[in-house]
Symmetry: D2
Subunit: 132 residues, 4 copies
């Protein structure tokens, strides 16, 4: 399953070059992951309240071309690996089909102490797996 | 008492004009208030943990001149009014003495439900008052 | 004319309380103003390229209630005053009809040197006026 | 040469967990690179004005432990690779010596069209090289 969401570049996200600042792409990826989690039935707020968390532990991102004000970006998110306590998402940001940025985001499921821990059944939803 | 702190303008805080984006001035004011609270012995983190909070309820800000990358801004914070559940701070951002922005920030002390409430003695430190 | 736009609260816009940070409301207002300008036929990017600018010179904002993750906020923008070089917008942020925040935003039309200047006909579009 | 700078975690940089949001680490790395460039005599603003630019083309970042409000972070930046049009920096964020995050940041020198280009002598300062 490839999850898709759309993000419109905002004025204050652009820097002195008129380009979206690098860090904002991480925000876009976070927005897309949040929508992806909702789409697969993973209730992030409830997860936090129950004392667990989903941390990002690693990001690899390649910036391919700049995005500018009013660009309507498509963000695709797809699970490509899933282990006992962690997994990897492939996320691609496109403008009119062209790749703007591509990232691999590693996440870990953590307990209240922030330690990676086996995902309880309630949170181990199928959509976290690559074959879903 | 006038509390003073210094903030160096960062790359990503500047927009397409090369100027600090308006919203970032609110960040600067927040940084300065946090330092001000520390200086007067108000432990913000402990306050939150004890179930209370300090909310901003109103901001009036006048932007007088732009700030740009690497500007070393001085931010002054001074209590100008103090009531039973709220107060007002005057905050001025300067560059080499010239006013860049000036704000009046109204705050309210709130309980766990977010309702304004009389400030318990522990948090009612003298530095919140104009005459301190 | 009341211009309306919708903004979905994002994960990273929320602070330690779980509430949208104050400065982010200024971002929301900026997003809404940008959409408002597009709607009235004011081309902001072209305006900047032609050497002019539209600066915010003053913001008064009242925070009425917190916004949280996934809130779908409605932002209304309405011109309430228009002078030769400047004007005032009333902007209201609502959640399900209830006011979350309300702001008066004063803007000035400026030349390449950043000085307020009479708005050239090309940019003096009717939608900037209260009676439009 | 290892360049060092210090960054104090700000209130609005922390999320619902009380932790610095992931994207803000990219901001910290950007602040540190800007200071590093100043330290090696690379005038970034002048570089932009002359029609060139320094783009980040890839970031690999590992998040090792959370940072929280008021943490005083040390950021080290060190050139580890230098080619004709690009290079790689190793950047480490520490708290009291412990690694909070570690990143490899690839940059490219670009012309006015945003295309990677051989670095002119004026900008090809020794400090960009690993052996400096």
């Amino acid at each position: 399953m490839v999850h898709q969401t759309t993000i419109l570049v905002r004025t204050y996200e652009c820097d002195g070059y008129g380009h979206v600042n690098n860090a904002n792409f991480l925000h876009y990826l976070e927005v897309a992951r949040h929508e992806y989690l909702k789409a697969i039935g993973f209730d992030y707020a409830a997860c936090m309240k129950s004392g667990y968390g989903l941390y990002v532990t690693r990001v690899e991102i390649d910036y391919k071309r700049p995005a500018v004000l009013d660009d309507k970006l498509d963000v695709e998110s797809m699970a490509i690996k899933k282990g006992v306590v962690s997994g990897i998402l492939d996320q691609v940001i496109r403008l009119d089909g062209e790749v703007v940025a591509r990232a691999k985001v590693t996440w870990a499921f953590v307990d209240a102490a922030g330690k990676p821990t086996r995902i309880p059944d309630r949170w181990n939803v199928p959509g976290l797996r690559p074959d879903s």
